[in-house]
Symmetry: C2
Subunit: 552 residues, 2 copies
């Protein structure tokens, strides 16, 4: 047997160590979207462009982004992304580009594309791991100042920037930021390519101009479609209903407020003096209790008090949805269809985070009617191109009954038909299934809202599909009429011994009579108001039976 | 316009901050398996049990684990997990249970259940966030020493343990560790329940005894099926083919070796003196170059040299697969079927990490023949119960042509039939799609190996299914014979004016003749050696057309 100070436990203890966060992610790089060479290229461009768009939006600048991808052979690519954003102050450059979990967006409750402070540093780290080369950053914050230039590595063990070069540079640009990295990658076109990502980005961000040079040295320009910068999202405070016990304990410990009442009104949104008093009353607590003197049991009472108090939903100016009109416009621009519909749902809340779901449908036209429908997913205006199967969006589409809306569908599958479906979630905190931000986690509140948006699109679609079917039936009838009337005319001519001119006249008269008759029928079938009411009833029923979208 | 030192960039800079890793995961808790109350309960138990099993295995102890789940009402549960492992030395307890990214397994290249140093601290953090209560840890490392008792919180901002209570305690046990947490949770039975997880754990870990008390206060005991602790996995060094540029630069910087040659032989597995020289030659480098003097370009040459040099695959004693025999035994214990087969593939490598795939099939018997097959997934002997759709295993099963093996299957779907399929991956580093370790990432090498294992199972299955079909056909024929022979006998009696005794005799003779004839036919059909060869050819063909399993 081991001695008391030389046990197996002692032996095991020697191996216990801190695990660096950069180390962790460099081994788990697939969590960050660097599973393979193709995705690595895509992820790098996505992270840089998303950051540029966020920065321009915060500074109220109309973004113009230059993306340059050069194939250097031997599976190496040089990627350059340049924007006309506000620039980054010197001291922040190394940390922003070469330190994981560093940034401005994580602690801010408002909609933005980035949120984790991981993405761009992960690209720098991947480039360095695969080619050993440093990332080259240039940034300029004022027309009268020179640009700052850095060559950076990530120190993966300590998760901090390693500065290889640092200097001032002339840059003929008012302001902006440029990043250049060399990485191991591969370029393939198609539905999961940079080209598709940039195209979809241009759709949901009609205020951006993107100048893209692809690895074949072809330049593609996506010009902006509007001169209006989207309304800036406002920062909000947490809503009491989204705060859990542990967070409440922490807030009580950290606050500067002297009383429970002022704590409640200062630290949360939607809590005024009256509501604060009501919460205290419902929790059997005194409004002038000192926050620091709240014990665990008292905090538990406070939580009870909040639960019992009716509160207004969180404010939604922290969210900037695309809007029904622009979403439909985007669809029209992208897809050559016959019918379009778009819906923006009212704001909702999951775990205290406000969010808005938007959905759109494009039906018919050039779209393939044999295969499954096309799904386009967006989160905070960013296209999601990977892991469709793992996404709450897909789950919601599969869980909606599309047969009632005129598409064919097997149970728990994507519907089949000439149709595209777009879903957009806008939120202060989009819950992704991994750090690579490719799919939305299965929160029941989110799935419910997506389904409601889809059902509304579906009802409009159904009305159109039914109309179209009627028209198709009608033109079939018309072709019968056109085929047989001449024979009827000829037969009558024989029977009644008419002249050739009379035969023509009869044909034309028969035509007119039948067309009129048909017209009446058409009106009855298509514009029947009862029909749409029936559909509305179907929809209503479905809303009631939405099940709890629990993850599995 | 802004002044030079008061730009928008300056304003934005004020918001830039470090993001704590615990903060990050507490907001992204679904990444760790805490998406909802049900999963939270499951994940907590899983993390604790996995740790106990790892510790016992490392110490060569036959594990006996006590799992206690008490429903305290109001969505709160008290969970206690106690093992008879080696215990944890005092100084390590707070960090192991209340600091994310801390542990012994991340830096060790050998198979273990845990690998990230996140799991159990995440459970402690979730418990604290939802109930505010501290985790209570007791651990004892030697029979003659008292146990150490701690009450712990995670300081989420700084990711470090907060010790609320610390004392010595008497504990009537030789050694072991116990954790008790209160958390918000919900308990539901079924295929994703604790019960299922523990049952499956018992199958792939036949050396463990689990004593489980469920929330209904029913005690369920899974007794061990073998007294042999699995062979301990050995730690290995990285294989040169799995090391990338960035890692190589780091290794060259950190090494104590004085020459390139000794660097190669000491830091890597499968590199002896001769191989090291060959690598240097292939890279046009001198073997006595000092590692610290290797420039980026020279390192690039070294990488080229490694690529050009043929190397033996990494050693595989770092992996401890279950084995065909035990896997089949486990299947027989769990599933009442007619046919069983299990396969352990030879070791393979992805990104320098050795891994072994095992697969098993159970067919027929009590299993439902209408629905899709049942899939059981394991990674390093741990059952994976969630995110089946996102798993490389599922993708591989769907991408295998099961029709050739006698199951029905639509394109790119799970096959349908009375069948269960088990897949186990054993590796020094299992690449999961998220920190919650629920699904395996889509590495092409892994998908290829899974498919090969499934195909081998499939071929054996096909041979059985065909045999079974033959037998079914035969018994149909037999029933015809049995039905019609008496009539033939009666007819002959009429025709030839025989006695009743003769009629019986004729019937029995006819029976014998026909049975004999049928027996011959059966032999030709079923045991036809050509038949199995044909099947082998089908299999061969499939192996060739395995496509690149790129993620999408």
């Amino acid at each position: 047997m081991a001695k008391e100070d030389n046990t197996k436990a002692h032996e095991l203890a020697k191996k216990q160590r801190d695990i660096g966060v950069a180390e962790f992610f460099s081994r788990n790089r697939h969590l960050l979207g660097f599973d393979n060479k193709r995705k690595a290229l895509m992820t790098t461009i996505k992270e840089a462009v998303d950051n540029s768009l966020d920065a321009c939006e915060e500074a109220g600048i109309l973004p113009e982004i230059i993306v340059d991808v050069v194939d250097m052979g031997n599976d190496r690519f040089r990627v350059t992304i340049e924007d006309n954003g506000p620039g980054i102050v010197k001291a922040q450059i190394p940390k922003i580009f070469a330190k994981l979990l560093y940034g401005s967006k994580f602690h801010t409750m408002k909609q933005s594309r980035g949120q984790q402070g991981i993405g761009i540093s992960a690209s720098v780290m991947y480039a360095q791991l695969t080619t050993g080369r440093a990332a080259k950053i240039t940034s300029k914050i004022h027309p009268n100042k020179p640009a700052n230039y850095y060559e950076l590595h990530v120190n993966t063990q300590q998760n901090k920037p390693e500065i290889l070069k640092e200097e001032e540079k002339e840059w003929k640009k008012e302001r902006g930021t440029k990043i250049e990295v060399d990485l191991e990658a591969s370029y393939i076109g198609g539905s999961q390519s940079i080209d598709e990502y940039l195209k979809e980005t241009a759709i949901t961000n009609p205020h951006v101009t993107i100048i893209y040079t692809n690895p074949k040295a072809e330049q593609i320009i996506f010009p902006r479609a509007t001169e209006n910068v989207p309304k800036e999202a406002k920062e909000i405070k947490p809503h009491p209903h989204g705060v859990e016990m542990g967070m409440m304990i922490k807030l009580l410990k950290d606050t500067d407020s002297r009383t429970l009442q002022s704590f409640l009104t200062t630290e949360f949104s939607r809590v005024g003096g009256g509501t604060a008093k009501e919460i205290c009353k419902n929790g059997a607590l005194l409004p002038n209790t000192k926050p620091r003197e709240m014990s665990r049991d008292m905090t538990e009472k406070l939580m009870e008090g909040i639960k019992k108090t009716k509160l207004i939903n969180p404010p939604t100016d922290c969210i900037s949805p695309i809007g029904e009109e622009l979403l439909e416009k985007g669809l029209r621009k992208e897809i050559n269809a016959e019918f379009y519909a778009a819906v923006t749902r009212p704001p909702s809340v999951y775990r205290g985070n406000p969010f808005v779901i938007e959905a759109g449908v494009a039906y018919g036209g050039d779209q393939n009617s044999e295969g499954t429908i096309r799904v386009m997913r967006f989160a905070n205006r960013v296209p999601l191109l990977f892991q469709q199967g793992a996404c709450a969006t897909t789950k919601s589409i599969m869980g909606t009954g599309w047969r009632a809306y005129g598409l064919s569908q097997s149970q728990n599958s994507l519907p089949v038909g000439p149709c595209s479906i777009v879903v957009h979630i806008a939120s202060v905190w989009v819950p992704f299934t991994s750090e690579s931000k490719e799919a939305i986690a299965h929160y029941p509140e989110i799935i419910k809202e997506i389904k409601l948006a889809l059902q509304e699109c579906g009802r409009r679609l159904a009305s159109y599909v039914r109309k179209r079917r009627k028209i198709a039936d009608e033109s079939k009838k018309r072709s019968y009429i056109e085929t047989y009337i001449p024979y009827v005319g000829a037969a009558l001519k024989e029977l009644l011994s008419l002249k050739a001119a009379d035969e023509e006249k009869i044909s034309s008269m028969l035509n007119t009579i039948l067309e009129k008759q048909r017209g009446t029928l058409e009106k009855i079938g298509v514009d029947n108001p009862d029909y749409d009411e029936d559909l509305a009833k179907i929809g209503k029923k479905e809303e009631e039976v939405i099940e709890d979208g629990e993850e599995n």
